[in-house]
Point group: C2
Amino acid sequence: MQLAAHPHQPDYSPRQNAVLDCALRLLVDGGEKALTTAGVARAANCSKESLYKWFGDRDGLLSAMIGFQASKVRAFEDDAEILTAVTLREHLVLFARDLLEVLAGDVSLALNRLAIGQASREGSKLGSMLQERGRRQVGKRAGALLEAGRRAGLLAFDDRDEAYDTLYGLIVSDLHLRMLLGEDSGRMAKDFGRRAERAISAFLRLYGHQKGSVQS
Amino acid sequence: MQLAAHPHQPDYSPRQNAVLDCALRLLVDGGEKALTTAGVARAANCSKESLYKWFGDRDGLLSAMIGFQASKVRAFEDDAEILTAVTLREHLVLFARDLLEVLAGDVSLALNRLAIGQASREGSKLGSMLQERGRRQVGKRAGALLEAGRRAGLLAFDDRDEAYDTLYGLIVSDLHLRMLLGEDSGRMAKDFGRRAERAISAFLRLYGHQKGSVQS
DNA sequence: AGCGAACCGTACCGTACGGTACTGTGGATG
DNA sequence: CATCCACAGTACCGTACGGTACGGTTCGCT
């Protein structure tokens, strides 16, 4: 039998999605402080009563926003093509660039700031939600890529999670945190290409199976 | 009269430092939401009026808290001893462990959450303050270590900042962000040793001079 | 046309917070 | 002892927000 596409997700109506979109825009522009129920209602041309009817309370709205945003990221399945040393490198670099651009996105930054702000009090679940919906998805794509590279004899590692952790660190380092702290993300976005190349070169030197290191 | 030790820092009185300590404790326990002026005054047995007299307003209090906490981290100057491949590795592993433990500290986590939460609105300056006081200090220590390693012929790199960026990424990866998002820092703290060893091994494979495999 | 559900707009309530003003008090100084 | 000062404690004010209630309107259904 066929399972529902998103069993865990309430999957709101188009109207409600539009409201969530407005709420996200509001959050991006003004931070969490600007995300008031009255503000969302005004921006989305809906009533506060409807907000509470649809999302329960403010926390419900926040959770819905995260779920909504996560539902917009496409799975980006890598088709199983024949990997060579060159194509693997290309795929890795592409992955690195995509990852950096996702992390630098203003919506991503705003949601991460929101979840981090709520992480202090117990039982917020926003952090784990973002972790689950965000990083796990990205990690799955990277994991498949690494696995394919190993099957093709191009990569050598024992623990896939460990290799992915190294890959992630080489690509991102503390750049994500610095952007979260307010450093201008647009200014550093022009270095993403060079950074991705650098990180993948290092990763391949660490985990590549061929003897001589290759670089472009 | 004796000059102040830190010209850039207001350098508050002992009483005010005690108040800042109470405020930090409050922030660690309950997050930013719990850090109210009335709460700080109650916890520190002082009056709100004194708080405003000493720190101006709430933002001044937050800045003072960051400055106060930063003033407590010691510079940790590495003495210029003769580096060998073994001692360099030991120093790097020690640095990695220290870095991880600092990042996992509850005060550090709370302050980073605070700064990130304030980063959305313009002109907060808290993020850059934390960046300046925190990472720059750590980076200076690491930079000196890397430089010493290069002078001793044990490391090979052109750009010190780039090498440090790689080192940082290998050590921390997304662990800092995950802790900021609420993941239990205590549970993962027991892996810091293994993680530090792993990261330094990888770093030395990338930048070590004893074997081949070096290029720009 | 009649009806009811969904919903918008707004007014309202309780609360909590940032910031200010006032009063009392202990302690130093002359 | 008289004076001054820094401070604690508290009461107070304006505001803003989360959440609720209610009247009016649209729209689909019978």
